[in-house]
Assembly symmetry: C2
């Protein structure tokens, strides 16, 4: 990352800094809840300077979502290649999700989903694409596992992938409601059991 | 309900009407996002008249949450007594959740959880109590099932109850992100399977 940063121009570095700071603000407060003034204060630049890089609040919010999601996805998909078995890859994915601190303000997908339910269409589209990318990655792992006879042929990859994501995202929501619920640990415990008894080929 | 309404005074009926209308507004827009002016427009009364019944926006929002949650809970817990087996009760609960249209604006618990993450403490406390009530009801069903040898003694009621709620709430979030995800149907499919192979005593 340091090497990559060195090759950026000053303008590009400023732009990245704005996106990174704005990502936290938008993820914590929502698109409607966050004002450009909030972003100005977090970045420490004049409002005019920020609008020099982004034509609108929406344009900045979209890049901010992509930034927060890229960070989230990278952490959740880490180390999957350290094992070859498809079910073991899913178990690592679940563990990554449960053990990695989320992007500041919580899962960007949950936040954007609830924030944009009747709100910003472009952001909603961005969240939908992020979700489908995640779902697709898990479906690929399951289909590959079926081809290699590591995953039971009776399960439907689409169904199981959606179920895993639903449980993880829901555990995040429950944890936010009740920090003592243990929802993330219980999600891991039961999903791991589900993978072993229902998904893993014997 | 009609009979109960007849016994209410005019003031009590007005109060109920304000709470019912406000519940939709707060659930759709969030505590910060909804203004008293929005409530005024929905109810069709003067602002002064509404403040005559509720000392503050917060006081109204708390009753509005209770109203939305009572409606939600009643639908989710319907018909559980039509079966005696604990695992069958849980299956009906899941079916109720998946098939009942949610309160306008989506699950009040999810909305309040995300809305009040760094926001209104009294509302957060209300959501936490609502969650714990739900979790407690499912734990009771599982414990009763263990006593009657309908539920495997190896499972931990707390863990399974939290897991079920997490998956259902997460499927709600995923459905909001991607209406075509089929998340609620997939949640039902996989949770029912989980109940049958992991929770039900054989």
């Amino acid at each position: 990352m340091k090497g990559a940063n060195k090759q950026l121009t000053k303008g590009e570095r400023t732009r990245r800094n704005i996106v990174a700071k704005a990502a936290v603000i938008f993820n914590q407060r929502g698109f409607e809840g966050a004002s450009m003034q909030d972003v100005v204060e977090a970045v420490g630049l004049e409002k005019g300077s920020i609008y020099g890089h982004f034509v609108s609040k929406e344009a900045l919010a979209l890049e901010a979502f992509d930034f927060a999601w890229a960070d989230t996805e990278q952490k959740h998909m880490a180390n999957l290649d350290s094992v070859s078995n498809a079910v073991d890859k899913l178990a690592i994915h679940i563990s990554n999700y449960v053990k990695t601190p989320s992007f500041a303000g919580g899962c960007p997908l949950v936040n954007t989903a609830v924030d944009t339910d009747d709100g910003n269409l472009a952001l909603r589209d961005r969240a939908r694409r992020a979700y489908r990318g995640w779902e697709g990655a898990l479906v690929d792992i399951l289909v590959d596992g079926q081809i290699r006879d590591e995953v039971r042929h009776e399960i439907r990859p689409q169904s199981v992938a959606t179920f895993l994501i639903s449980t993880l995202e829901g555990a995040t929501v429950v944890s936010r409601i009740d920090k003592r619920s243990g929802a993330l640990a219980y999600a891991q415990e039961n999903l791991t059991r589900f993978l072993d008894i229902e998904v893993r080929a014997r």
